[in-house]
């Protein structure tokens, strides 16, 4: 159900919900992707391993685009005077947590049930038939035409929508992610008409992070995001705001997507993946035996405590805690990066150089993959995984003058912890998990030292 949004505050609240959802889905997708088996030594044939790798590649692409969507939502928030939003409840949550959206928040390994759930998250509404992702040419155009009615991305249609939904409830009445974004697009048009476009887009747009050939952050690897399947645009006015929302729903649900792109939408990626999984002969289990919602502890905001699996194996729990600290450090850095506190372009690039490649690709992912290889329990079977746990008291920024030194403390703690894991004493140094952890330890020490030296020691870039 599309909901009328008629004020800046309502738009900001809806964007907070959107940021939370993108963040939530990204974690779920990554958890499933990192649970996949990675070698024939795990019981796959060469062909099955290739198929599994392909699924992993697609899932990480979708997760990257969820990060991009979150970035676009943060830019939308900034543009209309909101603040960056990285909050979300810990996993797992009851399905009712997100009201009529019906989004189940849980961390589950890659299997048909999980991919079916993801497909439902990304489904256009009304949900199309199976021909949507497989037909080409005119037939697909017809389906798109049905999905586009009524047209909502115009002033006139937005007004009609406003009249049609007058008096609707303001809580989470959205019935799908698509409806949330359709409502946001219509709401932006409505509020811009009410208070004037310039008054609506009164945020500090220089605080936004965007990529492309003309990005001011070229030295931060942001000049060519298309090579990663991404396009992060700056939001400065109504047109660019609508562009951002169109990009999100095109990539996700596929509504408004060009015909030759439909098969690459999240909905169709999951639909086709599900079909491939069902068609495998013989059927095989592509994922490691990872348990649902493996956490280091119970968190007070969890609404489905019976679905939690507390990791009891001490050496695994230690690595899961290290993962959580790395993840929280990254979020805290992003909170600073997207925040409006005064900072130079160089300072932004310094933060991006720590977050986007090193923390995400060299620590968050390898730690996740390692966790899915390790036993979760002392007394029963089942592997662990990345819990993406958040301690609410940690997502608070230090005063601006202490930001750099405060993050230095985080990096130093992380470097020390990577160096002193208990698992080093339990497994031979030739073990693949140990080698990978040692590699990360080396890299975290380097990152901590470079942060201390304000990047004076990193090798020269282009």
């Amino acid at each position: 159900m599309t909901i009328e949004l008629t004020s800046r505050e309502e738009l900001i609240n809806a964007l907070h919900l959107a940021a939370e959802l993108e963040h939530n889905l990204m974690c779920q997708y990554l958890f499933a992707a990192y649970s996949l088996k990675r070698s024939v030594g795990e019981g796959l044939s060469e062909v099955q391993l290739e198929t599994t790798r392909g699924w992993g590649a697609l899932m990480t692409l979708v997760a990257r685009q969820e990060m991009e969507h979150m970035g676009l939502v943060l830019n939308l928030l900034t543009a209309i005077g909101g603040t960056p939003y990285f909050q979300r409840p810990n996993f797992p949550q009851r399905k009712s947590h997100y009201g009529k959206l019906g989004i189940k928040s849980e961390l589950t390994r890659f299997d048909q049930e999980t991919i079916k759930r993801f497909q439902e998250f990304e489904a256009p509404h009304p949900e199309p038939g199976p021909e949507f992702c497989s037909t080409r040419g005119i037939a697909r155009e017809e389906i798109r035409a049905q999905l586009l009615a009524p047209q909502v991305f115009t002033h006139r249609a937005a007004n009609e929508l406003t009249a049609a939904t007058k008096g609707a409830a303001r809580e989470i009445e959205f019935t799908s992610v698509q409806d949330l974004y359709v409502s946001l697009a219509a709401g932006l048009v409505t509020v811009a008409e009410q208070i004037g476009e310039k008054n609506l887009f009164n945020g500090d747009v220089s605080a936004e992070i965007w990529g492309g050939p003309n990005t001011p952050y070229g030295e931060g690897s942001m000049d060519d995001l298309s090579q990663y399947g991404l396009d992060l645009i700056q939001v400065v006015d109504l047109k660019s705001a609508i562009d951002a929302i169109v990009e999100i729903v095109e990539q996700g649900e596929g509504i408004l997507a060009p015909p030759d792109y439909i098969e690459h939408t999240h909905y169709c990626i999951y639909t086709n993946m599900l079909d491939e999984m069902r068609a495998q002969k013989p059927a095989f289990d592509a994922a490691r035996p990872v348990v649902r919602n493996p956490l280091t502890k119970m968190h007070p905001d969890i609404t489905a405590p019976k679905e939690v699996n507390i990791i009891t194996r001490p050496e695994t729990r230690e690595i899961a805690s290290l993962f959580n600290l790395t993840y929280e450090t990254m979020l805290l850095m992003m909170l600073y990066l997207y925040g409006s506190s005064p900072k130079t372009k160089t300072m932004r690039v310094d933060f991006m150089n720590a977050i986007f490649f090193p923390l995400m690709t060299m620590f968050i992912r390898p730690l996740s993959e390692i966790l899915t290889q390790l036993p979760a329990f002392k007394d029963k079977k089942g592997n662990a995984g990345p819990g993406f746990e958040l301690s609410k008291d940690r997502l608070v920024l230090p005063p601006p003058e202490h930001v750099w030194s405060e993050f230095q403390k985080y990096f130093d703690i992380l470097a020390w912890q990577f160096d002193h894991l208990w698992i080093y004493e339990l497994r031979p140094q030739s073990d693949d998990v140990i080698k990978r952890l040692r590699y990360m330890a080396e890299n975290m020490r380097r990152l901590a030292d470079d942060w201390r030296a304000h990047w004076q020691n990193v090798g020269r870039g282009e």
Binding site: E50, D231, D243, T361, M362, G459, R460
Partner: protein, 303 residues
Amino acid sequence: MWLYLSFEGYFQMRMATDPDPSDEPRGVSGYTFALAGEPDFDNLVHLQPDEEGVCERHFGYGKNDNGPRVGVSVTQANWFDDEKLVYRQAPEYLGARVSFVKAQLTERNGIVIRNDLFAIDPLRVQVRKKRGALVIDREDFLDPKNPGLPITQATSEMLERRQPQGLTDSSVEVAKATGLPDASNDSCINNRRIRQRNLEELLKHTRNPVERAALETRISQLNILRRWWDLSQGGKPIDRRAHQLTLQAYGWAVDINGTVHVNKIGADENVNWTLSFWMGGWDGDALCAYISGYLSIPVTSET
């Protein structure tokens, strides 16, 4: 007296590409993969086809099996008398095989090097005559005072010795070396289209399911021409799978300072030798690129 050895050819480096982590063993989210039936990545720079870890692929069916073949050899060899200022050919070294022992191109996704100006490490150069006799073998140290220093502890000055000077897009020099008709984007894209067609033809003649799975992944990766998002100002740059066919990392110039393990040419071991080269034309489907350079060695007694 000096011995100048110019060398060139294709090398292979089987490694993951970002956003995969740099120790990713098979490739997932980047565009390079250890495919079905192939061993894990070893991340090593292989200049010779018989080195352990080389895994060459087919590029088409029958006469269309055209693509990079690993092998870097000496193409020009000259003695230079720096007193008489006279050059003289050194044919005994023509065709000699050049190797970088266990070398890697390192970046670690911004941990060690920023933005693709990869450092080469470790660096140990060997030259073997055509019949296999090792004539030169010397290594370079990041820090001669601390030969065991790992690259993660190197300063920016130490790293810079091992980095290229910069990157050149659409390099004519690379296009000429690798046989592209020119260095334009169109030529790069066309080259990938031809490769894709050749692999599709090869797939039709392939029955082995493991080989078919690997080919299907390669064909899918070469499907780079589909529409992507182009909302950003300035438009969408050419996809890196094509762009890198004419990208050149130029200006590596290392004054090799370390231990001489083999010296059969009467080289002066008390001074540094110069190794200079460029790398470019990275073919992500073949996991190969081109190298062209020279080794400049001061000689005390010609052998």
